[in-house]
């Protein structure tokens, strides 16, 4: 799994470099001594933050309305984790390849790592934190526990969000169907057979709302 801290540091450094490249001032700065570059960089960063203004965003997350301000480049996953402190949705790859960040937007499962937060204006988001009913776990959460649908648990929030949608979409007719429609959720621990069992169990007990 990606080291999230390191990833963030890398990204910050990268964006600073790219930003420098794009400003007209940058042409002169690239020729200047290192200390000067550092000073200018810091200043530019401040300016950058002001220049790229935040945009208003109204969303509902797990039934709660939020009125937020976000930079356009913030993904829905980073908004949920960093700003709303809903860390249930995981950052496995950050590139759409693992499904650990799966959430529901207006009831449909999507990858929050490839969704820009600002594009979700007016939408209803459900994360793993919003699945349970008061103190009662969602039937899919219960089934994952009962069937040992995980080992390390990192992929699990994504698996569960995907599994709920999979049944709702009518794509849990048999083992092959479940495997195909759950293929967007990678489990490095290989809990797949138990995940299929958990989903079948929920279907057998009456499905999901």
């Amino acid at each position: 799994m990606t080291n999230e801290h390191e990833d963030d540091v890398l990204r910050a450094a990268h964006s600073r470099r790219s930003f420098l490249k794009r400003t007209t001032a940058a042409a002169a700065i690239t020729l200047a001594p290192a200390a000067l570059v550092k000073a200018a960089e810091d200043k530019l960063d401040e300016k950058g933050a002001e220049y790229f203004e935040k945009l208003p965003l109204q969303i509902e997350v797990n039934g709660k309305p939020y009125s937020l301000q976000v930079e356009p480049r913030v993904t829905l996953l980073d908004l949920l984790r960093e700003q709303l402190h809903l860390t249930g949705s995981k950052k496995g790859c950050d590139y759409g390849q693992c499904g650990a960040c799966t959430v529901h937007v207006d009831g449909q499962r999507v990858l929050s790592c490839l969704s820009l937060a600002v594009m979700q204006d007016g939408k209803k988001i459900t994360t793993i934190e919003g699945l349970q009913n008061g103190d009662d776990l969602h039937p899919m959460q219960e089934a994952f526990i009962e069937h040992d649908g995980f080992q390390c648990g990192y992929c699990t929030p994504g698996q569960i969000m995907s599994a709920v949608a999979c049944i709702r979409e009518g794509h849990a007719k048999n083992d092959a169907d479940i495997r195909e429609y759950m293929s967007g959720n990678i489990c490095r621990c290989g809990a797949y057979p138990n995940i299929v069992d958990a989903i079948k169990d929920v279907v057998k007990k009456g499905g999901v709302k």
């Binding site: 930003f19 480049r73 490839l114 999979c166």
Partner: protein, 327 residues
């Protein structure tokens, strides 16, 4: 990701005006390709024009043609009853692509515009003529297992990764485009380009134009007899090594007309016209399918790691036709 500005136009006119006014602006739909490429620094538009609120989601049939709005989601199209009945090949191809989550985000227009998955295109420290014209093609002598066997050039051997477009090529769809000067219609086979000397250009969409819809003619015979077969490294959620979209108009045992297109083999959806012509009027037999496949591969050229495609491709053509005709 580098910072960028964001706008959300309410009309096609406003969206087209935005990309015409600002050369660094780019449309964003599902974001499943663009956000990925922006995170990696492969693409760096300075303004994103969010087209997801435009009224371009409708799927409707009129006069034997199905028109699919550019903003219709890949999952909506794949599951749509009209599409499943009249264009099952398209439904199958879409369902063979990506994952359920990605299909819920990806749009028809974005799918047609998606960039290659060549690892050197993605790796910003490596030379790549598509990403940075003039730097060279790293795949030519590099790790080129996923790469083209048809129509490549010494400048680029990348493939177009779309499954949807392979079905659209077999079904002879038309891409409807809006620009500052009005609407333009481009046959799907003329939409994507071969790399030639300018691999940076994936397709013939002009700067300042956007896709508004795709039109697909309905053919009842093809609807009864069509199959999308995708061969990949794992059973699901992987790009095609090779894929075949086949549609047959068959009477008794005789093939009246065949449509064949391949994916994973070229910079654009690859129509197998020589094989189609050969099959016309022939009996559906394994021997004829094998001969058609051999004809289809006549001009193929491999680059080392993808030599296996010279065997996999004809085998997949034969397998698809056998499965389709039940022999």
């Amino acid at each position: 990701m580098i910072p960028f500005d964001y706008a959300r136009p309410a009309t096609v006119g406003a969206a087209v005006a935005s990309i015409n006014k600002d050369a660094t602006a780019q449309l964003i739909a599902g974001g499943t390709n663009l956000v990925d490429l922006m995170k990696r620094g492969v693409m760096s538009p300075q303004k994103l024009i969010d087209v997801t609120r435009l009224p371009l989601k409708e799927i409707k049939e009129a006069n034997g043609i199905i028109r699919i709005g550019a903003l219709a989601l890949n999952s909506e199209v794949a599951e749509n009853e009209t599409i499943r009945k009249a264009l099952p090949l398209l439904s199958q191809a879409l369902n063979a692509g990506a994952s359920a989550q990605i299909r819920n985000m990806a749009t028809v227009g974005g799918n047609a515009m998606q960039r290659t998955r060549c690892p050197y295109f993605y790796d910003t420290v490596m030379p790549c003529n598509k990403r940075q014209p003039g730097t060279g093609c790293s795949a030519l002598k590099g790790y080129n297992r996923m790469h083209a066997i048809f129509g490549a050039s010494d400048k680029c051997i990348a493939v177009n990764p779309s499954d949807m477009c392979i079905a659209l090529a077999a079904l002879e769809a038309t891409v409807i485009v809006a620009g500052a000067k009005g609407e333009r219609r481009i046959p799907i086979l003329d939409f994507h380009r071969l790399p030639g000397d300018n691999p940076a250009k994936d397709n013939n969409l002009q700067k300042g134009e956007m896709i508004t819809a795709i039109e697909v003619p309905v053919n009842k015979a093809f609807a009864k007899n069509s199959l999308y077969q995708k061969i990949r490294d794992r059973a699901s959620y992987a790009f095609a090594l090779v894929s075949v979209a086949a549609a047959l108009d068959i009477k008794g045992k005789t093939i009246q007309q065949a449509r064949l297109a391949m994916g994973g083999v070229a910079h654009k959806p690859w129509r197998l016209t020589t094989a189609e012509t050969f099959l016309k009027g022939k009996e559906a037999t394994v021997a004829n399918f094998q001969q058609a496949a051999a004809l289809a591969l006549k001009d193929a050229k491999s680059y080392g790691h993808n030599d296996f495609k010279l065997t996999l491709a004809p085998n997949t053509i034969v397998h698809t036709l056998k499965t389709l005709t039940g022999i």
